[in-house]
C-alpha cells in the first residue's frame, strides 16, 4: 500500500501518547474512542455533556464559596476547643520561611480548581447556548487542560481523612458545614471530569469559528 497523501487533516486524530494516527468516524454518545496501540482513551462523548459540565461548574463554585466561609473542622480536648476554616489550613504555613507553601496550597486546593471551572464556563456557555465563542475561548480551554493535574481538591480531601484519623486518637473532632461542602465539591469535580471529552469540545470550538 502506497503512503496515502492527506489533503485535509481535519478528520484525523492523533494519539497524544503514542502518536498513532486515526481517522475519526463520528462517535455516538457513550462510546469510547480508544487507541488500539496504547489503550489511551482519546474520545468519550457523553449526552448533554456541555450542559452538565456547566451545571456542575456552577455547583462547584457555590460549594467553594460556602466551604471557605463556614467552619471546617473543630477539635475539643479536656474542655479546650479550637475550630479551623479551610483558610486557616491554607495559612498554616504562616511562618515566613514557609509562606510560599501557603500560596501553593491556596493555589492547589482553591484557586486552580475555581479557575478551571471559570475557564470551562467561559468556553462552554456560548457553545451550549448556540452563541459565537467568546474571544480567547481556545486559549481558555487550553489552559483548563494544562491546569488539570494541578487542581488538587480531591487530594486535599484524602488529606482530611488522614488528618482526622491522626487527631481522632487525641481529641474529639467535629465536622463543620464547610467540611461537607468541600466533600460535595470534590465529588462534583470527580464526576464532572468523566463528562469532559476534550476532543468533543475542540470539535465544537472548530465548528463555531468555521
Amino acid at each position: 500500500m502506497a503512503a496515502p497523501t492527506y489533503h485535509d487533516t481535519k478528520d484525523l486524530i492523533a494519539c497524544t501518547e503514542c502518536d498513532a494516527l486515526y481517522h475519526v468516524v463520528d462517535p455516538n454518545p457513550g462510546e469510547l474512542g480508544v487507541c488500539a496501540r496504547c489503550h489511551h482513551v482519546m474520545i468519550r462523548p457523553r449526552r448533554f455533556a456541555g450542559m452538565r459540565i456547566i451545571m456542575m461548574a456552577v455547583t462547584m463554585l457555590i460549594l467553594m464559596v460556602g466551604a471557605i466561609y463556614f467552619p471546617f473542622l473543630r477539635v475539643e480536648v479536656q474542655g479546650l476547643a479550637h475550630s479551623a476554616s479551610i483558610m486557616d489550613a491554607v495559612f498554616a504555613f504562616a511562618d515566613v520561611r514557609l509562606s510560599v507553601l501557603s500560596v501553593l496550597t491556596a493555589a492547589f486546593i482553591l484557586l486552580i480548581p475555581a479557575l478551571r471551572m471559570g475557564l470551562l464556563l467561559y468556553v462552554l456557555v456560548p457553545i451550549v447556548f448556540d452563541r459565537p465563542a467568546l474571544a480567547g475561548a481556545r486559549r481558555a480551554f487550553r489552559w483548563s487542560e494544562v491546569l488539570k493535574p494541578w487542581s488538587m481538591a480531591e487530594i486535599f480531601a484524602i488529606g482530611c481523612a488522614v488528618a482526622l484519623v491522626k487527631v481522632g486518637d487525641l481529641a474529639r473532632v467535629e465536622m463543620g458545614p464547610a467540611f461537607w461542602m468541600f466533600i460535595g465539591l470534590v465529588i462534583v469535580v470527580v464526576v464532572q471530569e468523566t463528562f469532559i471529552c476534550s476532543w468533543s469540545i475542540w470539535k465544537s470550538l472548530d465548528s463555531q469559528s468555521a
Binding site: 492527506y6 503514542c18 494516527l21 496501540r37 479550637h82 489550613a89 498554616a92 514557609l98 484524602i158
Partner: protein, 219 residues
C-alpha cells in the same frame, strides 16, 4: 490508516503513526497537521514531531526534585508540643509513631504517598529517560505501565503536605497541644512539584518509537 472504530478498537492491522504519514500531531489537542507546521492552528501549542530536547528538561527537573526530597526526609515535617513533651517528627518518624499508636492503616497511606511513590517516581523517570536511548533496558509493557504510573500517580504525594496543613491549623490548643509545620513540608512540596514537571516533560512518543524499532510492534 485505521478507523477509530468506536466499539471494537483496532483490528490486528498495524497502526500507522502520525510521523510515518509525514504529518505532525499536537500533544495538547490531538489534532494533526502537515509535517512542516510549527504551531497548532487550533490551540496554539508548539508542534514537535519528537521532542528529543525534552530529555534535558526531564533530567533538570528530576535533579531539582531529588535535591528537595533529601532534606524533606531529614528535617521535621511536624513539630508537636504538648504538656508532657515536644517532638519533631520526620516523614518516616511520624509513620513509625503512628504504627506504635496502632494506626497501621494511616501509617501505610503516609508511607505509600510520601516514600514509596516519590522514590518509585524518581526511579521510574530515570529508567524511562535512560531507556529512550537504550530500549533493551526494560520490557515493553513495563515501560508503558511505568509511564502511566509516573504521569497520574505522582501528584498524590501531595497528601502529606495537606495533612500537615490541616493538623497545624486544627491542633492549636494553647498549652495542651499545638502542632507547627516543619521545614520539610516546604522541601517536600517542592520536590513533588518538580517531579511533576519532570514527568510532564517526557515525550511518551519517544518510548513508543523505540518499541517499534526493536520489537517490530506486533500489535
Amino acid at each position: 490508516m485505521q478507523l477509530v472504530d468506536m466499539e471494537i478498537p483496532g483490528q490486528s492491522e498495524r497502526v500507522i503513526t502520525v510521523r510515518e504519514a509525514g504529518l505532525v500531531a499536537c500533544r495538547r489537542c490531538s489534532s494533526v497537521w502537515p509535517g512542516e507546521a510549527t504551531e497548532c492552528a487550533r490551540c496554539g501549542a508548539r508542534l514537535v514531531s519528537r521532542d528529543r530536547k525534552s530529555l534535558q528538561r526531564v533530567w533538570a527537573w528530576w535533579l531539582a526534585g531529588i535535591m528537595c526530597y533529601l532534606p524533606a526526609n531529614l528535617y521535621p515535617m511536624l513539630e508537636t508540643r504538648t504538656l508532657l513533651f515536644t517532638s519533631d517528627a520526620t516523614i518516616v518518624g511520624g509513620a513509625i509513631e503512628l504504627i506504635h499508636h496502632g494506626s497501621v492503616g494511616i501509617a501505610v497511606v503516609i508511607l505509600v504517598a510520601s516514600v514509596l511513590i516519590p522514590i518509585g517516581k524518581f526511579l521510574s523517570i530515570a529508567l524511562l529517560a535512560i531507556s529512550v536511548d537504550r530500549p533493551g533496558l526494560l520490557p515493553k509493557h513495563q515501560r508503558h505501565g511505568l509511564f502511566e504510573i509516573v504521569e497520574y500517580v505522582g501528584r498524590w504525594s501531595m497528601i502529606d503536605v495537606f495533612v500537615v496543613a490541616i493538623l497545624a491549623s486544627l491542633v492549636q490548643l494553647s498549652v495542651v497541644a499545638s502542632i507547627k509545620p516543619g521545614p520539610a513540608s516546604l522541601t517536600f512540596a517542592l520536590s513533588v512539584i518538580f517531579t511533576m514537571f519532570s514527568a510532564q516533560s517526557i515525550d511518551p512518543r519517544l518510548i513508543w518509537d523505540e518499541d517499534r524499532a526493536t520489537n517490530g510492534d506486533p500489535e
